[in-house]
Symmetry: C2
Subunit: 123 residues, 2 copies
């Protein structure tokens, strides 16, 4: 299960960088999954709300890099870098995400730890 | 609250490195707090069980280093390095911990993401 979870985290960050629709990323989630990004904000629930959340991403140029991943039980915590936009519009953020997984490998919840103070602006 | 949470995380890692009793670390926790280390193992609950968990640490030489901390709402996720023992007995682990906090700044829960495969042995 640990290897499957690691593979899903890698696939997730690949899609966060390269997906052309929010639905492609939402397909990694279980149908009734929840998403809380950032932690403390209202949770989105279900495929449609999760796809809509990621749809916004797909309009911007962006790259992702996995910094560290720790798998324990059926959960994972991982830190990663997202660079989005270009030039003066560029922003860099390094969140820590926590995900839980179902037996079939689908993501059942995602919670993203970051705050606006963690965003770096400019090239 | 963000500054208070960051300060508690720093204080926590200082005590994980330097406390002379488990009770000193348990004092950062609320009376009915829970501790799950690693995630997926049975949770310890309350000051006595939490103090007993940390007591084991205090018998070994160890250092800690905060690598990254992200505060969101009344929670924090942070990655850190723990080096314990010396020479051939040395082990290095870099967990990602998630903590929740009460209004008064005490830790209400801690969950540690790591697995035995993440432990590096030897100097």
């Amino acid at each position: 299960m640990t290897a499957d979870i690691r593979a899903t985290v890698v696939r997730y960050l690949d899609l966060v960088a390269n997906a052309t629709s929010g639905a492609q990323i939402a397909a990694l989630y279980a149908a009734d999954a929840t998403l809380e990004d950032p932690v403390g904000s209202p949770a989105r629930k279900g495929t449609d709300e999760i796809a809509a959340f990621y749809e916004v991403l797909t309009t911007r140029r962006r790259t992702t890099e996995l910094l560290a991943v720790r798998v324990a039980g059926s959960e994972a915590a991982f830190s990663f870098r997202v660079v989005s936009g270009t030039g003066a519009e560029q922003s860099v953020i390094e969140p820590i995400d926590v995900m839980t997984f179902a037996e079939d490998g689908l993501i059942t919840s995602m919670r993203a730890f970051w705050s606006p103070a963690d965003v770096r602006r400019g090239a």
